[in-house]
Symmetry: C2
Subunit: 123 residues, 2 copies
DNA sequence: TCATAATTGATAACAATTATCATTTTATAG
DNA sequence: CTATAAAATGATAATTGTTATCAATTATGA
């Protein structure tokens, strides 16, 4: 991965701004706060950053994809009403990888846990 | 939900055939084994069946969506090599909903757990 | 059996994402 | 410093999966 200014500001925007943005949202943030980046470059870089482990793609939520600069193990909850995404600590499912690997006889490289419901504020 | 022959054969195909098919795959199965159903009708019915709890949409796997006639609580593992999807028992994460609800102060209505890795056969 | 609501198929539209490709930028070996 | 190869960019076309539209058909039930 060679250096590029565009990738730098994409990562910077992710780290300094909202926590679980879509590509479209990142695009709008860049426009305002940093330099504008073409939509193709943005998608290309998001994929590269995911592939290189610098960010995570949150699977299992609604399309479009959401991204997360927090690469520490944790899960997500999306409020079905306000659509906000909250972090959930990985303590809710201890030993889950070991148990699943044992059950499957497989090598698990990653996993996603996504909750849906109504958040505290919307209740 | 009024009766329709198309919905009947879609559900029948799901129950009698492969376990985690995509819409496209169901479409091809219908073509061969049952009567042909228009793609619009298929998507419409899949959504309705999900809404009515007769089948589940498996979120968090690759696009396109996969569907599951098994509505009992369980999780999924997708092999990154052969792309096959395996069931994982819900025993791997006991009390997960209660713990997450407590942490969030939210009402959880559903959740998905999806593992990725290399399956026993592909290792 | 008539009226209303639900469903269908064909197809257009849509949204998110990826591919293409000529041009520019970056890394590096001499 | 160059020269060169590899990587990245922007503009835009293309693709993919899915949903919307709408006229025609089918189901439901008073």
């Amino acid at each position: 991965m060679n250096y590029s200014r565009q990738r730098e500001i994409i990562l910077e925007a992710l780290r300094n701004n909202v926590v679980h943005p879509t590509a479209e949202y990142i695009h709008s943030v860049l426009e305002k706060q940093y330099g504008s980046v073409s939509i193709a470059t943005l998608y290309r870089n998001l994929n590269q950053l995911v592939d290189n482990g610098l960010i995570k793609r949150i699977d299992g939520l609604e399309v479009p994809s959401h991204f997360d600069h927090n690469t520490h193990e944790h899960f997500h909850f999306m409020c079905e009403k306000c659509k906000k995404i909250f972090d959930v600590s990985s303590d809710v499912a201890p030993d889950i990888v070991e148990k699943a690997q044992q059950e499957l006889g497989a090598k698990i490289n990653g996993y996603d846990i996504v909750f849906r419901g109504i958040c505290n504020d919307c209740k």
